[in-house]
């Protein structure tokens, strides 16, 4: 039986990017805020000491910063007819654990989505009409670029993003991404330095008439102090970045950029190693009354609150809503219900290039060090007659090359023995790869639900993922990879290995942790779960924030938009909800 605690103003579930931003914004209004985190408190100085942070076995292979699957995992299957089985080791993606969440071990690539994304269904229907593939269930977000832009800007300033504007107040700026939406301000920091591979790629792309730009990076290019007064150090390009915590305060994270300021505020409390089991609802189902959590001794507690903000990783956002009975569970057969619908991913493609005469020093780099082009992304090219929509962000980002996992050899090389060893030595320094991180469009059959067979240590059902790559996305993958091959050819590699994404979706190798949907935002409660303020339809004091709100995923990394949505929700709560608690949008 849960012991009841005194009520508080605001409960925030999850202290990654989204939860920390909202908790901080609301604490500034004077409200009492308690943040719950299922993992440990993480702190740069103690957790990511420079003397031992550079450990590939510990962080990359043994996944120390990731959620232990023993604590919580998902089950997976490709289609309705299969029995979903648990993901016992994280393969395809890497959910995080502890304060900072997956925002500790992320790469740091911080794109904004484009203006047309927020009205994608309307926009593509206007442009292509009946050509739009019937399998897709794309939707508008119920918001606009103009409403999003100030919040993107706030997140970029918070995270100290390094980059080059391509569209400043409607004027195209040389050297930036000409396909981005009009931004009100330049990035807070200039672009980072570049290694050889992205430099070579940018030259090749430019020679073909494309417009290369520095990948927008939450790895600081110089010392920087954000609006909360927290200071970042310059990135040193150590190459222990994606899947690692940063020991230099250079990679933006909630533990670097938000929590050091937030935890010092007297009206904020963090409860760590405290897992939220459900959101409690009143008898009418129209008001959240608080949450139930369990501490590490197994004791359950009820924490009542006036406002409940659920801002965990996408999987836990959706699972908590299913476990708490919020919204109707989505059913793909009847096409009814909203909780769990429009689950999508990212379609990761690449072209690997082997050279004889080059030295890339691939161990120098970082998750968001690189150069990219956007000519083949989203709807930046005409899709008439192509039979698909969508595209990807093409770029070279040398994330580092710690050699347990990063030791490229050409096809046909044995996996062991003398020939393996020679090929490993011959190719380690002279191989590079061009990636194309492409869109993932939602369909009726890809969704999230509670698993009927497998349970977590508290006896609650695991979340079940039913997903496979839609035909649309597989055609797109082939098309954009062919375009990348055209660029790669002009760089004259000895050998090239194009890898367009193929089905089925599998948990066997890492693809991307860019997972979206399941509790999506929109203008209509019939096909969305939250309104444009991230407020749950019909439960006005409950907010669910994160990539769970994306109705589909464009060809960009999601964190910039997760951060912007967190600022957007906090702004709506402060500006509208606190003045007049209740539904902020009536339908």
């Amino acid at each position: 039986m849960a012991k009841k605690l005194p009520s508080t103003d605001v409960v925030v579930v999850g202290l990654g990017w989204a939860g920390s931003i909202i908790a901080n914004e609301l604490a500034d209004t004077g409200l009492n805020v308690i943040g719950f985190e299922r993992g440990p408190w993480r702190d740069t100085a103690t957790d990511f000491n420079l003397a031992s942070a550079t450990d590939e076995l510990r962080y990359n292979r043994r996944q120390e910063l990731m959620l232990r699957t023993k604590q919580n995992t998902c089950t997976m299957r490709n289609k309705e007819s299969e029995t979903a089985l648990p993901m016992r080791v994280w393969g395809s993606f890497h959910p995080g654990n502890g304060t900072g969440g997956a925002g500790n071990h992320w790469a740091g690539i911080t794109f904004r989505f484009q203006p047309t994304e927020f009205r994608l269904h309307s926009y593509l229907t206007e442009r292509y009409g009946k050509e739009l593939p019937a399998e897709l269930t794309l939707q508008d977000w119920g918001t606009t670029w103009e409403e999003m832009e100030p919040h993107y800007d706030a997140f970029e300033r918070l995270a100290g993003v390094s980059g080059k504007a391509g569209n400043l107040n409607g004027t195209i700026v040389e050297g930036g991404n000409p396909f981005e939406g009009a931004r009100s301000k330049e990035y807070p920091n200039p672009p980072t330095a570049q290694t050889y591979a992205p430099t070579l790629f940018a030259e090749a792309a430019k020679n073909l008439g494309y417009k290369p730009f520095p990948v927008p990076s939450a790895l600081a290019s110089r010392a920087y102090t954000n609006q909360l007064g927290v200071t970042m150090g310059p990135c040193t390009f150590c190459g222990f970045c994606t899947n690692y915590g940063c020991g230099n305060y250079s990679k933006a994270s909630a533990i670097v950029n938000v929590l050091p300021a937030l935890i010092r505020k007297p009206n904020f409390t963090a409860k760590t190693n405290s897992e939220v089991l459900k959101v409690t609802m009143d008898s009418t189902g129209t008001r959240a009354t608080g949450i139930i959590y369990v501490d590490s001794s197994g004791q359950e507690w009820e924490q009542p609150a006036e406002i409940v903000v659920v801002a965990a990783f996408i999987f836990e956002n959706v699972r908590l809503m299913l476990l708490s009975g919020v919204g109707e569970p989505y059913n793909p057969i009847t096409n009814t219900g909203t909780t769990g619908r429009n689950y999508a991913y990212q379609t990761a493609n690449s072209v690997k290039m082997f050279f004889n005469d080059k030295n890339f020093n691939p161990y120098i780099g970082g998750g968001a060090i690189g150069m990219g082009i956007d000519e083949f992304n989203n709807d930046n090219f005409d899709h008439s007659g192509l039979g698909f929509v969508g595209g990807g962000s093409t770029r070279v980002t040398p994330i580092g090359a710690a050699p347990i996992d990063s030791r490229p050899t050409p096809p046909g090389t044995p996996a062991w023995g003398a020939k393996w060893k020679k090929a490993t030595v011959d190719n380690y320094l002279s191989t590079m790869s061009i990636g194309c991180e492409a869109s993932s469009y939602s369909t009726r059959n890809n969704y999230l639900s509670l698993d009927p067979n497998y349970k977590d240590p508290h006896g609650r059902p695991l979340l079940r993922i039913t997903f496979d790559f839609p035909e649309n996305d597989l055609k797109m993958a082939q098309y954009v990879t062919n375009k990348v091959v055209e660029i790669a050819k002009t760089m004259n590699p000895r050998e090239m290995v194009p890898a367009p994404r193929k089905g089925p979706w599998a948990n066997t190798s890492y693809q991307s942790s860019h997972i979206v949907g399941g509790f999506i935002m929109g203008a209509d409660p019939k096909n969305s779960s939250v309104n444009k303020h991230l407020q749950v339809w019909g439960v006005p004091n409950l907010f669910v924030v994160g990539s769970s709100a994306f109705p589909q995923n464009p060809g960009y990394n999601p964190t910039g938009t997760v951060g912007a949505l967190a600022f957007k929700a906090a702004d709506a709560i402060k500006r509208l909800y606190l003045q007049r608690p209740g539904e902020m949008i009536s339908v």
Partner: protein, 248 residues
Amino acid sequence: MTEQSKGLTRRQLLKTSATTLAAGAAASAQAATVIGTPKWLPFDHNGPMHYDSPGWQFFTAEEAAEVEAIVEQLIPADELSVSGKDAGCAVFIDRQLVGDYGDFGRLYMEGPFTPGTPAQADQSPLVPRERYRIGLAGLSKYCQATFQKNFSALAPEQRDKVLTDLEKGAITLEGIEAKAFFQQVLDNTMEGFFADPIYGGNRDMVSWKMIGFPGARYDYRDYIGLHNQKLNLTPISIIGSSAWNKKG
């Protein structure tokens, strides 16, 4: 002072902090209420154990001889490097198996266990310790039945043939799928060869020197602009380096 004795000094330090830390880490796994400036404990959560104590901790002497023979074949000695055995890969695997990886303590190991589709990845109920114990016993049984010898007593060509057959699943082992056993051993061998030497493999940073990986360095600001050049940086391990200890 020689480089070795300085390295030992640093190892002592790491050992001490790892012990101190056991208490700190245990404490931090408890639910906690954090208000105000967090307490900072130097080296809290820090420092992998350094597995430099002698002897086998998981393998029996017989098993160890077989594992050493396997890793010697997977990574043979040649002009590029010493063998997987001499690089410490078997020691690495032994220490990993007694540690928290050995029983998949972090992983979801609840049933029902069913093989599933290839996309659903590893669904075996066996944890690494069992995979090795069962796999090595099965391998010995196969080699005895086929050659009347243990794997370690086979000629190099015969060893290669057996490993190739395991890799392809062309032979059957009792209690474990041959391909899965092979992949487990290969993955751990490569981890041992390329991981930081602090874990017992990659002795003297042999693999890093071989491929040109500078190891646990943390700052390339002076090098990032040197495009297409060989940098010849001496690798550094978490264990430490004489370069770190030089005064003045």
